[in-house]
């Protein structure tokens, strides 16, 4: 190397590393271009054994006992979404290693059996096992976490996780007596409290008045109505072909349900203000600022990133972390305020890194408490409305929120990278999971790749 001023010399040597000049001048030499996705926003930690979600779909959410899915059983709800997720990804059913479905109110053994029956309806062979999971309102999210953990543990490569709830057919009930020693344990007593009473406890303890709860509810409906009108749920909803029974005549009409029916975009402070407190005399929690009782199901197809790559499936989202925490049962609504920081920390992130939150709106009291306690930007939370407008089918909610979240992250493209799904859990718990956006760009393209073409950036398809 010729001697030049030392600093200039070093700069020029380094500069040639970045912008090389071909040293062999015996003619043009073609070099394969590996520029790839070199943009700063595209650099991310990827690993072949990341657990990724390649599809997340849900049924419409309809009001229990009155909505379009009131006469649809868990088998049909699940079979619909199972079939849809397999059709859209082209994954052959026998490749699934396990199916884990969150379900809360259905009788345990019967519901587990119904899930297995649903898998047969969907064309999944008998060789694929099925199980249920119940962590109350977080069951759908817990199912996703369980499948992620099993894939990580190497039990299988492809798993189907989701949740279902038919609140029309399975009311909340307590069978048998209550153990008398419950009286001696405050925590146990808290477990016996109706959910609405815990909402009143949160409202009273943290000073969340009726007005702010109603305002929260109005916003939820407004956001959901806007999202519905903009067609934002079209990608994640699978229409359900079912029947509706007339309660008076018993006549059954075949229908196709394809829309959420709980959303009331015209809700106002006045209309909500007229409702009476539902759980406590002179209380603040009403039917209008609580989550709706709803029927629905949702699933997510999960696999390792290596498997998704092998199958050529675009990655919708990456499972990053999960946390389940315990809180005082009498104020169970604070669950997300404890679970979210835990899950975010486990993902190696800070709250500021999260772009979208799906926090289940069990009650306006607890949801707004959690948002305030964590100091979250309200614009990041439930941008497409929440359970107050859309409904809360207990076992399905975790998976439903995940589907809504991942599709929202994809719509935002470069504008969003991480999202959180979280909910409070009856009997005093909270759960939260962190997801990362998949990063793939539009699936649809009229361009086709020319095999053997190595001269252009990986971004280009000629």
């Amino acid at each position: 190397m010729e001697s030049t001023s030392s600093a200039q010399g070093r700069l020029s040597v380094l500069a040639k590393h970045i912008c090389p000049v071909p040293t062999d001048v015996q003619g043009l030499s073609l070099q394969g271009c590996s520029a790839g996705d070199s943009a700063a926003y595209e650099r991310r930690n990827i690993a072949d054994d990341d657990v990724v979600i390649v599809a997340a779909l849900r049924t419409p959410l309809t009001k229990a006992r009155r909505g379009g899915l009131k006469d649809t059983d868990a088998v049909d709800l699940l079979a619909t979404v199972f079939k849809a997720v397999l059709d859209r990804t082209g994954v052959e059913p026998q490749a699934i290693g396990d199916i884990v479905i969150g379900s809360v109110l259905g009788p345990s053994s019967q519901r587990a059996n119904e899930c297995r029956i649903a898998s047969f309806f969907a064309g999944i062979p008998e060789t694929v096992p099925v199980r249920t999971v119940n962590r109350q309102c977080s069951s759908g999210l817990q199912a996703i976490a369980d499948v992620a953990a099993a894939i990580r543990a190497g039990f299988y490569t492809i798993g189907l996780a989701g949740g279902v709830e038919t609140m029309s057919l399975n009311p909340m009930a307590w069978e048998g007596g209550i153990n008398p020693r419950v009286e001696s344990f405050p925590g146990a007593q808290g477990c016996m409290m109706p959910m609405g009473v815990t909402s009143e406890n949160v409202a009273a303890k943290f000073g969340i008045d009726r007005k702010s709860q109603d305002e929260f509810a109005v916003r939820s409906h407004r956001k959901a109505a806007a999202a519905k009108a903009a067609g934002k749920f079209k990608e994640e909803i699978v229409p359900v072909s079912t029947k509706v029974k007339d309660p008076k005549t018993g006549a059954e009409t075949p229908v196709i349900i394809s829309e959420d029916d709980g959303v009331r975009g015209s809700t106002t402070m006045e209309s909500l203000g007229a409702l009476k407190p539902a759980f406590k005399k002179n209380g603040t929690t009403t039917a209008g600022n609580s989550s709706q009782v709803t029927d629905g199901a949702a699933v997510a197809l999960m696999m390792t990133r290596a498997e998704a790559r092998r199958r050529g499936l675009p990655v919708l989202g990456v499972f990053r972390s999960f946390a389940a925490v315990g809180v005082d049962p009498s104020i169970m609504g604070v669950g997300p305020a404890v679970a979210i920081p835990e899950a975010v920390a486990r993902a190696g992130l800070a709250l500021d890194d999260i772009d979208v939150y799906e926090i289940n709106e069990a009650f306006a009291s607890q949801a707004s408490y959690c948002i305030g306690k964590l100091g979250l930007d309200e614009n990041k939370v439930n941008p497409n409305g929440g359970a107050i407008a859309l409904g809360h089918p207990l076992g399905a909610t975790g998976a439903r929120c995940t589907a809504t979240l991942l599709h929202e992250l994809r719509r935002r493209g470069r504008g969003a990278r991480f999202g959180v799904v979280s909910m409070c859990i009856g009997s005093g718990m909270g759960a939260a999971a962190v997801f990362e956006a998949g990063g793939e760009v539009d699936k649809f393209t009229t361009a086709h790749a020319v095999p053997g073409q190595v001269l252009l950036s990986k971004d280009a398809i000629v």
């Binding site: 190397m1 001697s3 030392s6 600093a7 010399g9 070093r10 700069l11 040597v13 380094l14 040639k16 590393h17 970045i18 090389p20 071909p22 040293t23 062999d24 030499s29 070099q31 394969g32 590996s34 520029a35 790839g36 996705d37 070199s38 650099r43 991310r44 930690n45 990827i46 690993a47 072949d48 290596a306 790559r309 190696g348």
Partner: protein, 319 residues
């Protein structure tokens, strides 16, 4: 596990062959363009505590460092003024550097210590030469000339103690033998400058090269006319490649695209440019990498963002 912050831009990180968790980090001020240098020795505990064991200042930036294989406290650092400094951490700071070998006429950018003949180490320089040294002698034992441009990297063959390779900006990798006067192989591995090369630790005929053309190629020295594998995964020049001491096919690479990638050269994905892992924790050029020989899975990277990270290859760098 954790992150060692350095005052200057980090150029190289090397695990001690004697102490698990002890790392040497060579750094240079102002990205090594102009200014001083600093040699650090850190102790990284499994719980993430980072203790600075030593810090030595130098007149010019330091581009590489290497631990002695014979003495647990000795390390050498190569400097931008062409000198090689020898440090002994067991001696007080005032007694350091113990020696300064000044022979190279331009920047000395790589040092490598022989793991079998433990008194020998090599240095390579932008003056187009490689020099062989021992701490017992006041001058270099031998100078290897032949390259026509900067020699960026030099590496001993782990199984043949007299054999080493050199990677140069003259687009060749040369394999040398201490017993021979001239290179035993001149390998025109790339069409552009070759910034790095390393031997496979389990197959003494296999080597990997990394180049300004962003690719990493795998070569068998017995069949030098065609590469065995080309891995195009980086979006800028590949600064360092390193084979794992624990696995025949695992390869670590770092690049000016600020990523550190772990490759399984035996997997079909590697040929498609898909690494096992890609870490983007550095916010500036990632220029140094090392595997720990004492603790399988522990790896380290050094970057111009004034940090050296230590983490497990199965996970991600975290604080």
């Amino acid at each position: 596990m954790g992150r060692c912050r350095t005052a200057f831009n980090a150029y190289s990180v090397k695990f001690s062959p004697f102490f698990e968790g002890r790392i040497a980090v060579a750094t240079a001020q102002n990205f090594g363009i102009i200014g001083n240098g600093k040699q650090y020795v850190f102790e990284v505990t499994p719980h993430g505590a980072i203790i600075e064991v030593a810090q030595y200042d130098t007149l010019d930036g330091l581009y590489d460092c290497a631990w002695s294989e014979a003495n647990e406290n000795v390390l050498v650092a190569s400097s931008g003024d062409g000198s090689i400094k020898v440090y002994d951490t067991a001696l007080p700071p005032a007694a350091n550097p113990v020696r300064s070998f000044k022979e190279h006429r331009h920047e000395c950018c790589s040092v490598a210590w022989n793991t079998s003949k433990r008194d020998l180490f090599l240095s390579s320089s932008w003056d187009d030469t490689i020099k062989l040294w021992t701490l017992q002698a006041p001058a270099s034992l031998r100078t290897f000339a032949g390259h026509t441009y900067c020699v960026y990297h030099v590496a001993w063959n782990p199984q043949q103690p007299e054999v080493f390779l050199s990677a140069s900006g003259d687009t060749t990798v040369r394999v040398w033998d201490l017993r021979q006067p001239a290179p035993t192989l001149v390998l025109p591995a790339h069409g552009f400058e070759i910034l790095t090369a390393d031997w496979c630790k389990y197959n003494d005929c296999l080597l990997a090269t990394g180049s300004v053309d962003k690719s990493i190629k795998l070569w068998d020295v017995r069949v030098p006319n065609r590469e065995l594998l080309m891995m195009m995964g980086h979006s800028y020049a590949v600064r360092r490649v390193l084979f794992s001491p624990h696995s025949e096919s695992l390869l670590l690479s770092c690049s000016y695209d600020m990523t550190v990638k772990l490759w399984d050269t035996a997997s079909p994905q590697a040929a498609q440019g898909l690494p096992l892992r890609s870490w983007d924790h550095h916010t500036e050029f990632a220029v140094g990498i090392d595997f720990s020989t004492l603790r399988e899975g522990l790896i380290a990277s050094a970057g111009w963002d004034e940090s050296a990270w230590v983490w497990d290859q199965r996970g991600f760098p975290s604080l």
